[in-house]
Point group: C2
Chain length 465, copies 2
């Protein structure tokens, strides 16, 4: 194999890393996934580099692990021993910005927030905003079909994707989709690649929709509730009334306790906090209507922002939650999603599980989507997943499925949840998934061990929860 790596080095020169340098490319932001050691790393600068890498890997049956910003929380970019890591981070060019037609063409390594800022210079926005948007790449967002705070109103990454260029397992370049907002010629291969976690091809470029940036400063409404159920019902009422919030977040009592500790604010009395933001036309009326809904719904205190600064500051509470929790130990974030009406039931279950297994779990939810992030705070110094945490996560997944939900709303399957996949998918769905996988990647070299369920895995317990 050393000899073959020489072959690749002859083609890629300093864009190929070996030896100690590969250590930095072993894992993403899911540190509890057990990473292997790559044989080498390709730091691609152009599409041709990725083609060279994949042709070589295909010929030698070497596993390929693509990566972007390394911010994944499910281990989708976890290296396996002897693999070739292909980093797209260096392909960071915005190729075209077509303001009139409201689309752009970008390379996979463009940072999510950079794209939104570039769009803003034309009065446009790129809405998907995963928490890591200042360091995550569009390629990684596409691989995981990333969400974020704004997707309750504006949709997830797939909804913004018109077309792709991806390098297939054998090095061919697949161009999918189009530059028009509508189009039905052929199968939706664009949508198939989005969310496939690098198991069907390596995305190198994307044509993405943009839309007019909402004008004016957003308005934020915040309410504390003495009862979790009241907060969840109020969130449902806001959705039901068609007020169309630009974000709607619920913080539970454990999160509020950490925030009280971390800031000078006092949320000790509240069982839940609901943060709702409105943007664009009609935002003032919507905020007033929401305030009335929250008050009528039993909020202890409820207020709305009176200035842009205040609107941003209130939403800032949500962004402070993770740092506040991370100070208490090693954070491990989960990502279940349930039908909206089951939100309170799911939070209560998480709280019961935490008590039963002696875990510290704080939950923040994208309440408008029913997407919950139970955050386990593990003791400082924890490196693997403790047995009680694994059992607690198992129980959380099981209940999410019982409630008609899913194991993962926006983080992906990666390595962490693969053994659970077949409990969510029907057997036929798993069979068709594998049939598609083998049709596109006959040697199985593309990101092995991620996203695709394999028979019998659901029975094993060798992987963390």
């Amino acid at each position: 194999m050393t000899e073959s790596v020489g072959e690749l080095r002859a083609r890629l020169g300093p864009r190929l890393l070996t030896g100690e340098a590969v250590q930095a490319y072993r894992h993403d932001a899911a540190p509890l996934a057990a990473p292997g050691v790559p044989l080498a790393v390709v730091r691609a600068r152009e599409e041709g580099d990725v083609q060279q890498a994949l042709r070589w890997a295909h010929r030698h049956h070497v596993a390929v692990v693509p990566r972007g910003g390394g911010t994944g929380l499910a281990g989708g970019a976890t290296a396996v021993d002897g693999c070739l890591v292909v980093s797209l981070a260096g392909m960071d060019r915005i190729v075209e910005m077509r303001a009139d037609d409201q689309y752009c063409v970008v390379q996979a390594g463009v940072i999510t927030a950079d794209l939104d800022r570039a769009a803003a210079r034309h009065g446009l926005m790129y809405a998907p905003d995963p928490s890591s948007h200042e360091t995550s790449t569009i390629g990684g967002n596409l691989a995981t079909n990333a969400g974020g705070l704004r997707c309750v109103k504006y949709g997830v990454t797939r909804d913004w994707t018109l077309g792709l260029r991806a390098v297939l397992a054998d090095g061919r370049v697949l161009a999918t989709g189009r530059r028009t907002v509508k189009g039905v010629a052929g199968y939706d291969l664009t949508g198939l690649l989005v969310g496939s976690e690098g198991t069907l091809g390596v995305i190198v470029e994307a044509t993405l929709r943009l839309r007019p940036r909402p004008s004016g400063a957003p308005v934020t409404v915040v309410a504390q509730f003495p009862l979790l159920e009241a907060a969840a019902t109020a969130a449902l009422e806001i959705t039901r009334a068609g007020l169309d919030p630009g974000l709607m977040e619920l913080l539970d009592a454990a999160t509020l306790a950490a925030l009280s500790d971390h800031t000078r604010m006092d949320f000790e009395e509240a069982a839940a906090l609901l943060l709702v933001q409105f943007d664009g036309a009609g935002r003032e009326d919507a905020a007033d209507a929401a305030l009335a809904v929250l008050t009528r719904g039993g909020a202890g205190t409820a207020l709305r922002s009176e200035s842009a600064a205040e609107a941003a500051e209130l939403v800032g509470l949500r962004r402070l939650a993770y740092p506040a929790l991370a100070r208490r130990g090693v954070p491990f974030t989960e990502d279940v999603c349930v039908p909206r009406s089951r939100l309170a039931e799911m939070v209560r279950h998480i709280q019961a599980v935490a008590a039963a297994h002696a875990c510290e779990i704080a939950t923040v939810a994208h309440a408008g989507d029913g997407n919950l992030h139970p955050l386990f705070v593990l003791p400082h110094g924890t490196t693997g997943i403790p047995a009680n945490v694994s059992r607690a996560a198992d129980e959380i997944f099981a209940r999410a499925l019982e409630l008609g939900g899913t194991l993962t709303g926006e983080h992906g399957v990666g390595t962490l949840k693969r053994r659970w996949l077949e409990r969510e998918m029907s057997a036929e769905c798993a069979e068709v998934t594998r049939a598609v996988k083998w049709a596109l990647d006959p040697h199985g070299i593309l990101n092995p061990g991620k996203a695709v369920p394999f028979p019998g895995e659901g029975d094993g317990d060798d992987l963390p929860g």
Copy 2:
């Protein structure tokens, strides 16, 4: 084969039609597609009927042509000789309506407009509204990823689809997707099946999103322009300003001439008419802003509706266009889509093509999407596609592709456009499409001759344009 049909009859009884009764199931609303004669027709009443049909067809290698309301315009439900037609029209039950969670579960045969009316009883809407929505079925809408007038604001059928049940080629039932608004567990097989025109499976049930119905009556703005280019630019300005119209339609001079003929209105002086409707919060302000944009943009006359009745009446002009044109001959509708900024260029090209090939072509466009419907008016009594029409359509497709557009914005590929597919798709895209097709349908029995490009077809001229 007659013996084998007996086998199927034993299982399906009167749900199986043979003999003269099959004649009514030979074609959809694309009468210029040359239909074959089916061996038999299954009028499915439940999922099990479809499974029986497909197991039998798989065993005997018999082609299966699924159909819903028979309203397709691209020939996607055109029978081939000796096939088994599977009609889903009888599976027309709304299985669940979950108002709080804003989704429903419906069988494939539910009529599109019936679903929207059922949703309205809960204050909700199902937005995709192809022109045939009073007779088209959800299953057909899913198979073609149907659009409509409202999709400029609310998206197309795929955007409303959370999950599916489909019977695979060998009779297995594939359940895809979920009941939550977000979810990233596994490949997007839901999106893959939507728009695949029955070539990957027969959709029998769908879980569809609903959303709050916009409150209050919509407001319509209408403007006549002496110059087509001014109308197209004004439409672009409305999109650019983020006014978010609920529909935005452009009618060209030939359409207006037919309308003048058909009604007592006089549009003889206008080169184009733009109809823009606004719904939901902020619609009054948006209508005022649009009126200003249109006036500034060179509209000859521009006005906005002052009542709900007037708003509906103005949009009614758009719905009158087809009857007005159909009186003049046999209508044959095309369906190209281009980036929005190329709309005027595309209309001009269509007008030049009409003159060059001595065809009568009138164009109505979903201006907010860049989706144009050039409608050929063929002489009364025409049954095939005349040579000049075929050449004209060829030139229209070629220009749409040159402008960065697509052959079909919302009608589908069907039989009519398959020979053109490989001019739009890259070779690799066609290869991957076939790989997916064979992985799911190894005997190639599912809707043969539709949607999937085959090598060398782009060179032939045996199929109409």
